[in-house]
């Protein structure tokens, strides 16, 4: 089960990462070093930072990115028998926008079913946080989908 889950995790993560195109740097205006206060808020008042018990059968874990790229995100969700997400946790190695994106993702998925959660788009997250175009890739790298996919196995 674990091995199949891991394989699905990797495939789902790759699909997610390859799906949305990376914005070419040339088209972008100068990167905004001004942090929107919503982005700062996610760092100063963190919600859902941490870990769930990854050995538990109700917990799905997704890990995407690479340290060499400056972006690694771990997302975990806990699902009840009815397929509803009751808890979510994240940890991120990445810029302020990446931290805020993953934090917001954990807030949004709580209370949704897995299917509903899969409909959340990175552009929605970017809009909510007012991320400038150059930061869109930070919200793109959500481990959400693969952790959600992994959790579907456990139900």
């Amino acid at each position: 089960m674990a091995a199949a889950g891991a394989g699905r995790l990797r495939r789902a993560a790759s699909a997610l990462l390859l799906r949305s195109p990376r914005l070419p740097a040339r088209e972008l205006s100068a990167p905004a070093r001004l942090y929107h206060k919503k982005v700062v808020d996610h760092y100063e008042n963190p919600r859902n930072v941490g870990s769930l018990d990854k050995t538990s059968k109700n917990v799905g874990t997704g890990l995407v990115g690479a340290p060499a790229c400056g972006d690694v995100m771990k997302l975990q969700i806990q699902v009840d028998e009815k397929g509803k997400i009751v808890d979510a946790r994240f940890k991120t190695f990445g810029c302020g926008s990446a931290i805020a994106s993953s934090s917001l993702a954990t807030e949004w998925v709580k209370g949704k079913t897995v299917e509903e959660a899969l409909t959340i788009k990175n552009t929605d997250i970017a809009k909510e946080l007012c991320l400038p175009p150059v930061k869109l890739h930070c919200s793109r790298k959500e481990g959400m989908r693969n952790s959600l996919n992994a959790s579907m196995e456990v139900c």
Binding site: P31, R33, V64, G70, K91, C95
Partner: protein, 406 residues
């Protein structure tokens, strides 16, 4: 001619008395200045409620990017902005003469800082223009083999000092021109263009507590180094850089050089002590911190540290009341990490985790202590949020993991 000579004698006597003072250095520039109207651009949609009262500005720890104007430099410049506004190339009246005298005095001040002859200093708009003048067309002038070596004296990202004297010796023996961009080094470490056999040097005003928009290029006369002018026009600056020389700016540059020459040793000692304090205090409280760059051949005021498992830009965001810079990809427009760190062989993940601390003439011990305290606090916090730190604590070797590629 006689009138001008008489005027010149009188002018020298007066201005000698009013040059930048050799008094004890003024300390304690309050860098946390209270602004009444926050001018910095805040995105319009966040300003729901205007903040009442004065706003504090961040501490400034980014002297490699630019430096504040030394008050003594401003003192030297003001008369030339307000009263002595003549064009230094006007030969027919006192306005021109006094402006020219100031320009030549500034030229002498710059030359004396680097051991050059004043006739070898050409004023430009900055080190970038100086670099361009020095390098352009030089290769075409001589043999197809290596014709010019150009090396930075002190690197602006990691503070490493290049072995300039050795390189100069080699170039001289091989009859190859040697140019160095000394923007971060002038006035901070001793330089002598003759001892180090430098043929061309670029100097920047705003890196040495002088004004922005001015610099100089040193061009050796003996043996003569021929360069081609970048901009043509009225033939000013010996034909090598046409355009009216901006007297207030060059007076500022000259004053900055003179102050730097007087204070170099004191500044170096003080900055070394502060740098040592910063590095020691951070490293004894935080594990897994790497200093980038050779620790021995290093200018102490530029400290580049990598905090493993924490991304640079997130740390900059967390340290919001300190102005710092990073070698992280997220902070560069191209989303590529620092090429300097890559060139010295830093692991890519550490390149994403680097922060540059700049300590300068006006940095206080209090500011360093505050920066250190906040840095330690936020690195610990970000590590708690980091999946990499968690994995390392669990005993996983990060290098063994097959990360997802994109």
């Amino acid at each position: 001619m006689l009138l001008r000579a008489a005027w010149r004698r009188a002018a020298v006597a007066v201005t000698a008395a009013t040059g930048p003072k050799a008094a004890a250095p003024t300390r304690g520039l309050r860098l946390r200045v209270r602004d009444l109207a926050p001018q910095s651009a805040v995105p319009a949609d966040t300003a729901a409620v205007p903040e009442a009262g004065p706003v504090l500005r961040p501490l400034y720890m980014d002297v490699q990017a630019t430096t504040p104007l030394d008050p003594r430099v401003l003192d030297a410049m003001l008369p030339y902005l307000v009263n002595y506004y003549g064009n230094p190339h006007s030969r027919t009246h006192a306005y021109g003469w006094e402006s020219e005298a100031a320009m030549e005095r500034a030229r002498q001040q710059v030359a004396s800082l680097i051991g050059a002859d004043p006739r070898e200093i050409i004023f430009t708009s900055g080190a970038t223009e100086s670099n361009n003048i020095a390098i352009k067309e030089l290769e075409a002038a001589i043999q197809p083999d290596t014709s010019l070596v150009s090396v930075m004296t002190v690197n602006n990202e990691i503070g490493v000092k290049q072995p300039i004297a050795e390189i100069g010796r080699i170039c001289s023996s091989r009859k190859v021109y040697f140019h160095t961009d000394a923007a971060q080094a002038v006035g901070k470490i001793p330089l002598d263009v003759n001892d180090m056999k430098i043929d061309l040097m670029s100097i920047s005003g705003h890196k040495i507590y002088g004004p922005k928009g001015v610099g100089a290029v040193y061009i050796r006369r003996r043996p003569r180094v021929r360069v081609e002018a970048l901009q043509s026009g009225g033939g000013q600056e010996r034909g090598m850089r046409s355009g009216t020389v901006p007297t207030p700016l060059v007076v500022g540059l000259g004053a900055a050089c003179e102050v730097a020459q007087q204070e170099m040793e004191y500044d170096h000692k003080r900055i070394s002590k502060l740098a040592e304090r910063l590095i020691q205090n951070i490293m004894k409280s935080l594990p897994d911190v790497v200093m980038n760059g050779d620790p021995e051949h290093h200018y102490p005021g530029c400290i580049n540290l990598s905090f493993a498992y924490v991304e640079g830009e997130s740390l900059l965001m967390a340290l919001k009341d300190v102005a710092l810079s990073s070698g992280s990809a997220c902070t560069s427009a191209s989303l590529e990490p620092s090429y300097v760190l890559r060139a010295i062989g830093t692991d890519e993940d550490l390149a994403h985790s680097s922060i540059r601390f700049g300590i300068g003439r006006f940095t206080t011990e209090e500011e360093v202590d505050y920066t250190v305290e906040k840095c330690i606090q936020h690195v610990k916090r970000l590590r708690e949020m980091s999946p990499l730190w968690e994995m390392v604590q669990d005993g996983i070797d990060l290098k063994s993991i097959k990360w997802t590629q994109h």
